[in-house]
């Protein structure tokens, strides 16, 4: 691997947010393709961070800083990648369902998905089913993630899925759900496409859903 790609992946691992743009431009100046910078530099770094996080050697704030570093570089790479027709990982739309105000878990899921290479749009909390459906039409995500922390609001996930159905967009997205009281059995019962019990596995699940795990 070229030295600059190595530097980029190290900078991601170390979370050197300020250096990312310069490093990325240097790499492009060396005639390395945007795609290679993404896959062999940024993602190589993030993969390492993911493994270390699972092993308990790296912690959430460090993972999020690495994800931020990657975002910096992506701001340079994204137009180039789009131009050259490279398939991006995809888009994730997120929100906490209507009536529910718990949001820190959902925020973590969003940041972990960004770290995995997704483009993420977060609608916030207390989101009505119709608002989810409208956002699906507008943002055209590959994956819709819903969060609920209350047994009373869990059932709003089902309502939301029905509203997606009525709006004719249910088959345009994969639906993943989560939140402390949610289970795989509940996900199966309401016809969601998947469930994950924490933010790291949510990002994994999203990757599986777009066929890139």
């Amino acid at each position: 691997m070229s030295e600059i790609l190595e530097q980029i992946s190290t900078a991601v691992i170390e979370g050197e947010v300020e250096e990312m743009v310069d490093l990325t431009e240097d790499a492009l100046g060396d005639d390395i393709s945007a795609e290679d910078i993404l896959n062999k530099g940024l993602m190589a770094g993030m993969d390492y961070v993911g493994v270390e996080f699972k092993a308990g050697n790296v912690f959430v704030p460090e993972v999020l800083r690495s994800a931020r570093a990657m975002q910096e570089s992506m701001s340079v790479l994204k137009p180039l990648l789009e131009e050259s027709g490279v398939q991006m990982l995809g888009k994730v739309l997120l929100g906490t369902v209507k009536g529910d105000l718990h949001d820190i878990g959902k925020n973590l899921v969003g940041m972990m998905c960004e770290g995995a290479g997704f483009e993420v749009k977060d609608l916030g909390k207390d989101i009505a089913p119709e608002a989810f459906a409208d956002a699906v039409k507008e943002f055209e995500p590959d994956v819709l993630g819903m969060s609920a922390l209350l047994t009373t609001t869990m059932r709003v996930m089902e309502t939301t899925i029905n509203v997606l159905e009525e709006a004719g967009v249910r088959d345009k997205v994969k639906v993943m759900i989560g939140g402390a009281p949610v289970t795989q059995a509940f996900s199966d019962q309401i016809g969601a496409d998947g469930y994950a019990s924490n933010a790291a596995s949510a990002a994994e699940l999203a990757k599986q859903m777009v066929g890139r795990a």
Partner: protein, 486 residues
Amino acid sequence: MRTNYRVNSGVRFRMLSKDQLRELYWGVLHVLEYTGLEVHHDEARDVLKKAGAWVDGLRVRIPSYLVRRSLKMAPRSFTIFARDGNPRHDIHIGPGRAHFGPGPTCPNFADIETLERRPYVKADVPQVAKIVDALPNIDFCESLGTVSDVHHDLGALYEFAGMFPNTSKPIVAWSYDRHDSAGIHEIAVAEAGGQEAFERRPNYVHYCEPLSPLVSTYEALEKLLFAAKHRIPLIFTPCPIAGGTAPVTAAGIITMAAAESWMGLTVAQAIQPGLPYIMGGVLSVMDMSAMILAYGAPELSLMMAGITELAHYAGLPLWQTGGCTDSKTFDAQAMIEGSMSVFFSALSGGDLTHDVGYTESGMTGSVFQLAAMDEAIGYSRRITRGIEVNEDTLAVDAIHNVGPNGHYLREPHTRRHFKSEFWLPNLHDRRNFEEWDMMGRTTMKGRTVAWVREILATHQPSAIKSETEKVIQKVLEAGEDRVKDQ
């Protein structure tokens, strides 16, 4: 007579100096005055504006004089009364007194027969209340669960209706909305003998939760307004998570949580001057690997002790937290985490310590954890009761009488004092090996389970008035009627 003699009448610890407390106190006032909070309730914003706060859209900033005046208006000492007049079930809130009780609304429950985790159901409510009623060191009642087998909007109502007849210890009641609060209040007032009688001898406390960071939500304020207007003692408690929804530092999370709670205080005192108000805050850390709010972390005890000291400095009682664990089962971790936080709560004199019996970070309620913690509370209370020093306890005469080479077994001094000086264990086993072996080598877990089941088989709480029973029926029917089309 002893003059100029200083008496330490119990063991307490002090973590923060006066200077540090002053710094925290003014930090909170600064946040309220310069940053302010979002207040998602029209009426509450009006109340605040009339009282002298600056309202700018949803954002409300409160000048420090107004917060300080509200702090002065709230009492430091008051009593929550047992519904049946049993004085031993009254809770006297005041300096130096720590009280304990379970927590609310876990989705799951550790089944009393199988000990397995399963959804919490209506039939669990009376059982928990009965156990609370019988446990000698548990002072107030919450249900440890959200009732899952009734209409989803009626969980809080059925919960109160199930607790009230089954314990005369004061209940800390939560609710989803104003309808629940009204139903609950109707039941409590019926038993008290009318609104005025209730105001003189309140028999329950109302609990609501604002959102961190810095939001007073519509739901929380609806309930606060209801409680304030009906002069129901009130807990207003945020649940910030250090490093997640709050600053990562202990001083930072304490400052923010206090600001969130004092916003509620200011609204409440503007409506009902002198309303008994219990400052809140469940403060702990986000585990940066497991991504949970840790109920068994040492930082929980530390932060809770800090906010307790701040509350007391400002002249308010505090809604403490302890006796809880992140463990999924009745094991050594559960006992270490639960006991340590119970002891810390007792040491810091937190006025009402809740969440005793929470396991799995608040996801599963356990009466076994609760009963084991009853033992830990007794143990802690013996320590915080301290050492009494006077002519009699000094035992100079007894020492003289026995002299060298004697023994104290038959001394009147021993007989007179051993029952108050020594704590009598209930669940702990201190027998020698042979006896323990003969009695079937029981474990703490086995003894706790047996005790809980024995209580359920034998304990009879005092009954409520028959009129109140009718009111309960009426309130539940009205509730069912309200939700029948939803």
